[in-house]
Amino acid sequence: MKKVIETIQLTKTFFLGDVKVHALRGINLTIYEGEFVAIMGSSGSGKSTLMNLLGCLDQPTSGEYYLNGVITSKMTKNEYANIRNQNIGFVFQGFNLLPRTSALENVELPLLYDRHGRVKNPIQQAKDALKKVGLADRMDHEPNQLSGGQQQRVAIARALVNSPSLILADEPTGNLDSVTSVDVFSLFQELNDNGITIVIVTHEREFAKYARRIVEVKDGLILDDYEVKNRLNAKEDMARLKHDESVVVVEEKS
């Protein structure tokens, strides 16, 4: 099977004045096409640092990172930008949408920076991405007119719009309530079922069970790496939650 991600002894050290912070201390991680990996770990264990390296938002202090079989450590800044634009969709905990900008324009944004001439009709492509995340009727809404879950869906649509081979999401449900979180996971499961490789950071064990594989990180090292047994289906959970809600409502009425 094709390797999407392969890291060899990846380290990242931050320098705060004289103090060195070893955020990553040698990560060896291989992720194959079509996988759905959940990265878990306590706060400060280095999950975000790892995601930023995988997303080509930051460069490692040492070690190698092969993306789709291509080594990234010798790339220029512009090649990094191209990879972010073409190969990776990044979803943040804080959504990171442009304020006072419609959902459609937010989703269209990566297409505007496309320099490969692949994009024939950016607006149509952005509309299709928004339809995929179920926001066809919210295209003209600006972020402050959308709920948290909807904003995250817009962000996911933006990550999807360039049809990347890899989606990286750093605690995408960190700012959302549990029902909305399950809803967002159902979207990720659906995308994964369609063949997109997904790496997601979460520190909720039950959400991690929506993934196929769990990687546990501690103090900048991989502590554990295993297949998910009894994988959960977010769509079913969603249906049950809705049913429970209606039951609660019915009980209140009686």
Partner: protein
């Protein structure tokens, strides 16, 4: 990124902060319109002065009492010989290169006529004065040599005087009292229009020089001598000839300085337009400073905007914008802002110049070259003052920019 998209991104950002964009560009608007309006007013004044001096007639030579002032020190009145009718007569008799000559005796006072009164200037001149000035008569005729010799109490009214004393009628043949002396009106001058220098060529009365000299001013002296050279090609020779005659008339020894000044029309025009050119340049320079201040204003706001929009820059970088895309976006924003400011400034200045010409006595002349320069300059202001903030924005690391609070 395609240029079309770059423009799209830059325009959208500007439109999103309309008020700030407008305030940012206000400095440029004011700077550009100030430059254009100031230069227009300066050039309008210059043109006006030139027009007036040209209206003197191109063969004109003026002789002023007193040495040329270019030395800086002008001797006090009385230390120089004033002109007399003898000087005028001597020139008339001896000059070969002068075709007409007239003394000018300035007087003034109240004129009563047609049941009303009017204060105006009275000039004692010779009959050839009209020819020298290239003036024409509306009614009647000018006085003659005989009137001059006889000190006749006849006069020619300027059109404004005629209008005020004898509205809607031909005053020829009427009597007026000039400072209590009765004069007969024998002619009226054609209207020559308003002058910007203040003195009107219509609000005056002409009378024979001898009459004014002996009956009104009671003195012996005349204030200027106007002469008309026989040909414009030989105007310098005519000036030299006049100089020799005047030196002789004033009995100056070979080593003495002239106690009079001779100027021809071109020299007067040059001196006047030179000084108004300096004024135009000064006005323009002061206004240019305000344009630079406007540019600094743009830089200021762009710098604030880079800091304020660090997250936005981070977002753009994270989805694949290159540093150069960010650089060009910010640079374009600055250039679009300043060009827009330039354009608005041009529109405002054109409106102002139109209003000045229409509703005020100031004459302003739109200089298209200055308009073009101001517009191009405002573009450069955008590039120059936008570059530093844009560079700053483009050098950001995506993750640092995203982390920025």
């Amino acid at each position: 990124m395609k240029w079309k998209n770059l423009f799209k991104v830059a325009f959208k950002s500007l439109l999103k902060a309309r008020l700030r964009s407008l305030l940012t560009t206000l400095g440029i608007i004011i700077g550009v319109s100030a430059v254009i309006i100031m230069v227009a007013i300066g050039e309008g004044a210059q043109r006006e002065i030139e027009k007036q001096i040209n209206s003197l007639g191109s063969n004109l030579i003026v002789i002023f009492p007193g040495a040329s002032r270019t030395g800086g020190v002008s001797r006090g009145a009385g230390s120089f010989n004033r002109f007399t009718m003898d000087d005028v007569k001597k020139i008339e008799e001896e000059s070969l290169l002068i075709k007409a000559i007239s003394p000018i005796i300035r007087s003034g006072g109240q004129v009563i006529g047609g049941g009303t009164n009017w204060n105006t200037a009275i000039y004692g001149v010779s009959p050839s004065y009209l020819e020298i000035r290239d003036w024409e008569l509306e009614y009647g005729e000018i006085f003659t040599e005989r009137d001059e010799r006889a000190r006749s109490k006849v006069c020619v009214l300027g059109s404004e005087v005629a209008k005020n004393l004898f509205p809607n009628q031909n005053p020829v043949g009427e009597m007026v009292r000039i400072v209590n002396t009765p004069f007969k009106v024998i002619g009226v001058l054609k209207e020559k229009g308003q002058t910007a220098m203040g003195a009107s060529n219509d609000d005056l009365i002409l009378a024979p020089a001898s009459t004014v000299l002996y009956r009104l001013s009671g003195g012996r002296y005349i204030h200027f001598i106007y002469a008309s050279a026989a040909s414009i090609e030989r105007i310098a020779e005519a000036q030299e000839e006049l100089r020799q005659i005047m030196r002789e008339a004033h009995r100056l020894n070979p080593g003495d300085d002239d106690d009079f000044t001779i100027r021809n029309q071109t020299e007067i025009t040059e001196a006047a337009s030179e000084s108004s050119e300096v004024m135009t340049m000064l006005l323009g320079a002061v206004a240019a400073v305000s344009l630079i201040v406007g540019g600094i204003g743009i830089m200021n706001i762009m710098l604030v905007s880079v800091t304020e929009r660090t997250r936005e820059i981070g977002i753009r970088l994270s989805i694949g914008a290159r540093g150069s895309d960010i650089l060009i976006q910010f640079l374009l924003e600055a250039i679009v802002l300043s060009l827009l400011g330039g354009l608005l400034g041009i529109l405002i200045s054109i409106g102002t110049i139109y209003a000045l010409n229409e509703y005020s006595t100031l004459a302003a002349e739109l200089n298209l070259f200055v308009v073009a320069i101001a517009f191009v300059f405002s573009g450069f202001v955008g590039i120059f003052f936008g570059f530093y903030p844009a560079r700053k924005a483009s050098a950001l690391n995506p993750i640092d920019a995203l982390r920025y609070e």
